[in-house]
């Protein structure tokens, strides 16, 4: 019997219509756990570096994590992996919601899609019965609308459905995969799904997920539960409200947006509006949010309430679900002070199925180009002249790939190069061709420099986490913070926080030192890699300060769940293995040190020499050569000798030069 996992993958060849239930090797779990870990392994084994995002050979994998479907709170993430049409690298956007647990209950750990369907289809997975069904009648339907239509058609209200909208159908590079209150948004999974002509994947499962030592598992969960209750009633003092709690940023609950509106950039990551949070604006934003949100909602088995059901005549009257920063990204990108606009356009964007981080920036980029005379009236023919109307019009064009929308649909990086005439200069907020959070700051932050530059996630909001974002002003505050900091993997991190000051010798950019920064970043990404292998929401582990899940209780939970006895060192080794395999996969596709840099204007004050030193120190710490490629020694140590051989064969790793 298999524990925590089901031990089966579902392999679907869309070209031949062939469906197979394949038993997996338990050894894979020992080496890579599950979720991101085992998915990366599949891509490494089966996707050649020459494969392009829209080639039939590009695998699209929907994966559960090791703990999905167990009673572990917040283990609900679905991981989608594919070569991104935007970055050309292995992307792994995730979504919460209900899908992955349902897949486990249906008896599968992953669904692996290869090749392309000749016509539009949706997949219906109902325990052992799996069908590829015609979806021609669903073409053009909204991503949310499709989910309910499929449930009705199947007469199965409890089916969980992941679907794409028009944007995915049209292979828009920022197309998302929508499911319940969640979406896998970043880097164009919806486009790959659309390219394969999969409109949706519906699942219903009624089988058991087993635990090896259930009673012991529940004892550990009891501690986690108590800590969740403690954290929900004890927010962390001296940090911004948004960082004080646990869960994904509580954007649906909190109405105070002074910090985001005045510190994040408006437009195409362009303007900081330090006086935005005036009385009338505060009133408009608060009223809009409180009126529009009908109910706060959760993902599967999670006590937090990071999502919301939106329904109000004041914002168009059409119901949809919202989460996180989607609440404000469109208003801010369009320079529209009225938050009702954001609530209205997000409804349409959700049905189209587009990433609410990248897409508003792409639209703002187009507006900037128009104002600069690079795009002309001809490109904007038929576009309303008001800010709101313009954004709606542009969103429609992008989702439909009509006119200028067809160019913009490839994202800022590619659009800028296609448009030319100096448009490249307006592409000032991408890393590895992917739009970043609209933040422009003063002083170089060495920790963030490393995270922006080096993580395979390519999205800062899902890299950062357990370490404070900034130094606490006073010694007392620092002492108070580290006092009950049980999550640290090593006591020395407490010392770093104690010594870290907002100004002076022990301040950024030179403190924490490059060595300390390497350790801190390594800790962050280790936690994210664990969460992503387990299918745990980062909001309860890697993404927030003092979370309920951490390096000291993950091994206990994994051991009790699976029966494999894993300690902290063993767990670190497993995720380090996955991290290096992922890196090698991307290296094999051409990624090197030259690609590892934040946007040029991300900080006003840059320190080229220090930055090089940071990167080199971190590479060395990770066991990578100065090109950012894992050395043979590191790979062999992680049982990845076959990867070293492959990299050497391709001339990416050169013998004796490491």
């Amino acid at each position: 019997m298999r524990y925590a996992e089901t031990g089966y993958y579902l392999e679907i060849d869309l070209a031949r219509g062939n469906i197979e239930r394949v038993e997996t090797d338990p050894r894979l779990t020992e080496l890579h756990l599950g979720g991101l870990g085992t998915s990366v392994k599949l891509h490494w084994d089966r996707v050649l570096p020459e494969t392009k995002p829209f080639d039939p050979e590009n695998l699209l994998i929907f994966s559960t994590g090791l703990l999905n479907g167990t009673p572990a709170f917040s283990a609900n993430r679905t991981l989608v992996t594919f070569i991104s049409p935007q970055s050309g690298l292995l992307a792994y956007p995730m979504m919460g919601g209900f899908w992955s647990a349902e897949l486990k209950y249906a008896g599968y750990d992953k669904v692996i899609f290869r090749n392309k369907s000749p016509k539009w289809v949706y997949i219906w997975i109902h325990n052992d019965k799996v069908e590829i069904r015609d979806a021609s009648h669903l073409k053009g339907k909204g991503a949310l609308e499709t989910q309910d239509l499929i449930r009705e058609e199947l007469k199965e209200p409890r089916a969980q459905v992941a679907a794409i909208g028009l944007a995915g159908e049209n292979r828009v590079f920022t197309a998302s995969i929508e499911q319940s209150r969640s979406s896998a948004s970043r880097l164009g999974g919806g486009a790959v799904m659309g390219d394969k002509k999969i409109k949706a994947v519906a699942v219903r499962g009624t089988k058991d997920v087993y635990l090896a030592r259930g009673a012991e598992f529940m004892e550990h969960m009891e501690e986690v539960t108590e800590y969740i209750k403690f954290r929900n009633t004890n927010p962390i003092p001296d940090v911004m409200t948004i960082l004080s709690g646990i869960g994904s940023p509580q954007e649906m609950k909190h109405t105070d947006e002074k910090w985001h509106t005045e510190n994040f950039m408006w437009g195409n990551a362009r303007t900081r509006r330090r006086d935005f949070w005036s009385k009338p604006n505060e009133e408009n934003w608060t009223t809009t949010q409180l009126t529009a949100i009908q109910r706060l909602i959760s993902c599967f088995n999670c006590p937090q309430q990071c999502g919301a059901l939106v329904s109000s005549e004041s914002v168009g009257g059409r119901k949809y679900m919202m989460k996180c920063f989607g609440k404000l990204t469109y208003s801010m990108a369009a320079y529209v002070d009225d938050l009702r606009f954001n609530f209205r356009i997000l409804q349409r964007a959700t049905e189209y199925g587009v990433d609410s981080f990248s897409t508003p920036q792409i639209l703002a980029f187009a507006v900037e180009l128009y104002e600069a005379g690079i795009l002309t009236d001809k490109d904007f023919d038929g576009c309303p002249s008001d800010k709101e109307g313009r954004f709606f019009w542009l969103l429609d064009r992008v989702a439909r790939r009509e006119g200028i929308g067809d160019v913009l649909a490839d994202g800022v990086y590619y659009a800028a190069r296609k448009i030319g005439k100096g448009a490249e200069k307006f592409d000032h907020n991408t890393v590895k061709k992917h739009e970043q959070l609209p933040l422009k700051l003063g002083m170089l932050d060495p920790i963030y420099f490393l995270m922006y530059s080096t993580n395979e996630k390519i999205s800062i909001t899902q890299i950062e986490g357990n370490f404070p974002q900034a130094a606490f002003p006073t010694r007392e505050q620092r002492e108070a913070f580290v006092k009950d900091w049980l999550q640290v993997p090593d006591e020395r991190f407490k010392q770093y926080v104690l010594e870290w000051e907002p100004r002076g010798d022990n301040a950024i950019p030179y403190f924490p030192t490059p060595e300390m920064c390497s350790e801190i970043v390594d800790w962050m990404e280790m936690l994210h890699n664990i969460d992503d292998a387990l299918g745990l929401c980062a909001g309860m582990g890697s993404f927030c300060l003092k979370p309920p899940y951490h390096i000291h209780n993950y091994p206990k939970l994994i051991s009790a769940a699976t029966g494999m006895d894993i300690d902290e060192a063993g767990l670190k080794k497993i995720v380090n293995r996955s991290r290096n395999l992922h890196r090698a996969f991307n290296n094999r596709r051409g990624m090197t040190r030259a690609d590892e840099k934040p946007p040029e204007d991300h900080w006003k004050r840059r320190f080229p020499e220090l930055e090089e030193q940071l990167l080199s120190t971190y590479y060395k710490f990770k066991g990578w050569n100065m090109d950012g490629i894992p050395t043979r020694e590191r790979l062999v140590e992680l049982d990845l000798g076959y990867v070293a051989e492959d990299l050497e064969k391709r001339g990416i790793l050169k013998d004796g030069q490491n």
């Binding site: 479907g69 167990t70 009673p71 709170f73 209900f98 209950y105 949310l144 309910d148 209200p157 319940s180 209150r181 499962g205 009624t206 089988k207 058991d208 997920v209 087993y210 635990l211 259930g214 009673a215 598992f217 529940m218 539960t225 969740i228 209750k229 929900n232 009908q294 109910r295 706060l296 909602i297 959760s298 993902c299 599967f300 088995n301 999670c302 006590p303 309430q305 059901l309 329904s311 119901k319 949809y320 679900m321």
Partner: protein, 181 residues
């Protein structure tokens, strides 16, 4: 008939607070697994959160009595403009729907308030609902004594309803014969 004191156990459901996470379903199925916590499967849970997300319906319903036949008619409620499914509030495991039935055997499920030895302070679903949707209450009432059928009896009764007494007896006889070999 003699009057006896009976403990009335109630779970108060504040559906307006429900965020639809289904933690109640998961813990219910894990608690009732044999051995305890050895597996989880919400389809076996004795509580189901009826979710119609875009209709703003999240409604935890607990499994009640097994009903061998469906009602003569169906009911449909509209509350605050929200239309609930047919029999939406009904707790019965009945032939009209697949709710509250073991997914493999089809046997009826019924909430037992997590009766166990030693007794729990409150049922597991109440303990694991951190949003206070479920509140456990106890009171004593004087009632007339009655004989309560055991789980096995309910299960057998539903099998007899489904397959007929003869078939169940035959199967039982055959199985006991083969087990005794």
């Amino acid at each position: 008939m003699a009057k006896i004191k009976k403990k009335i156990k109630t779970i108060k459901i504040d559906a307006d607070k429900c965020n639809g996470c289904r933690a109640c379903e998961i813990i219910c199925s894990a608690f009732h697994a044999t051995p305890k916590y050895s597996s989880s499967n919400p389809a076996r849970a004795r509580v189901q959160v009826i979710s119609r997300r875009l209709k703003n319906i999240w409604l935890p319903v607990f499994a009640g009595e097994y009903a061998p036949a469906e009602c003569m008619g169906r009911d449909k409620y509209v509350i605050d403009g929200k239309e609930y499914d047919e029999c939406g509030f009904c707790r019965a495991s009945c032939p009209s729907r697949d709710l509250f039935k073991e997914p493999d055997s089809g046997l009826p499920l019924k909430c037992d308030m997590c009766e166990s030895d030693p007794p729990l302070s409150e049922p597991m679903c109440v303990q694991k609902c951190l949003n206070d949707v479920l509140t456990y209450e106890e009171r004593e009432e004087e009632v007339e004594e009655e004989v309560k059928p055991a789980d096995v009896e309910i299960g057998l009764e539903s099998m007899i309803d489904k397959y007929g007494l003869e078939k169940v007896t035959d199967t039982f006889a055959r199985m006991s014969a083969s087990k005794n070999v």
